[in-house]
């Protein structure tokens, strides 16, 4: 039996759920406030997600889903009924290492 993540990926691969009800391509959401709000995101909140894959709301104010892999993030989004085209996904590096 396929996992939720696998099923979600199959749907994505088929393209079937990438369209809106009118059969048109889903466009990215309005991100005009994302950078501004994301830069003010509480550091203590971000630290909780260090090393995780997360999805931010388009306004950059909330983390709406998370997982330990892209597949887990997809599954969490699906479980919450949020389409992947309507979030900003991000990998938050572990906080105890520097990136070089």
């Amino acid at each position: 039996m396929a996992s939720a993540a696998e099923s979600f990926r199959e749907l994505a691969l088929s393209g079937a759920n990438n369209m809106n009800p009118n059969g048109e391509k889903l466009e990215p959401p309005d991100l005009s406030h994302y950078e501004e709000n994301r830069s003010k995101f509480p550091p203590e909140e971000l630290l909780k997600y260090a090393g995780k894959f997360v999805a931010f709301s388009p306004d950059g104010l909330r983390i709406v889903a998370s997982g330990d892999s892209w597949e887990e993030l997809d599954a969490d989004l699906e479980a919450k009924g949020i389409h992947f085209s309507q979030v900003v996904s991000s990998y938050l590096c572990p906080g105890d290492v520097s990136c070089i």
Partner: protein, 150 residues
């Protein structure tokens, strides 16, 4: 047209010695929207002047409907010289700083080994004059003569 982005302040659980003891690291992360044949996805990527190509996690190709089955293939190496496979597709990239918006066609790579997108020369930085203001912790991207978009 210029777009301005603040460095993303990444909180650290310790004082960073090399930055004089501050508790965060500024990183040049910006949000780019990847638009394919059937859908779009927005994701935070790292501006990397040392990267030859612009590379996204492979899962995104399926998400946006980009067909990689007949895509041109290549090989890349990471900073630690680990070889990774890359497949290329022609997509549309969109960028906004909340004031300006630009959108252009680009060849980008997809790799299963990438966790965070690398916004490198081909497909991205080749179309901009990029200024990294270390003092202000701000990035300025100005479209150049090669910019093919709108």
């Amino acid at each position: 047209m210029s777009l301005h982005f603040p460095y993303t302040l990444v909180p650290m659980p310790y004082a960073v010695v090399s930055l004089g003891g501050r508790w965060s690291r500024p990183r040049p992360l910006i949000t780019v929207s990847l638009i394919g044949p059937t859908s779009a996805h927005s994701i935070d990527g790292r501006l990397d002047t040392g990267a030859d190509d612009t590379i996204f996690p492979e899962r995104l190709a399926a998400v946006i409907g980009a067909d990689l089955t007949v895509a041109p293939r290549g090989q890349a190496t990471t900073a630690d010289m680990t070889p990774i496979s890359v497949r290329y597709a022609h997509v549309t990239l969109r960028l906004t700083d909340g004031k300006e918006r630009c959108e252009w066609p680009a060849w980008v790579g997809f790799s299963p080994r990438i966790r965070r997108p690398l916004l490198g020369f081909a497909g991205f930085l080749q179309f901009f004059t990029a200024t990294f203001h270390g003092d202000r912790e701000q990035i300025e991207l100005t479209i150049n003569g090669l910019y093919p978009g709108t």
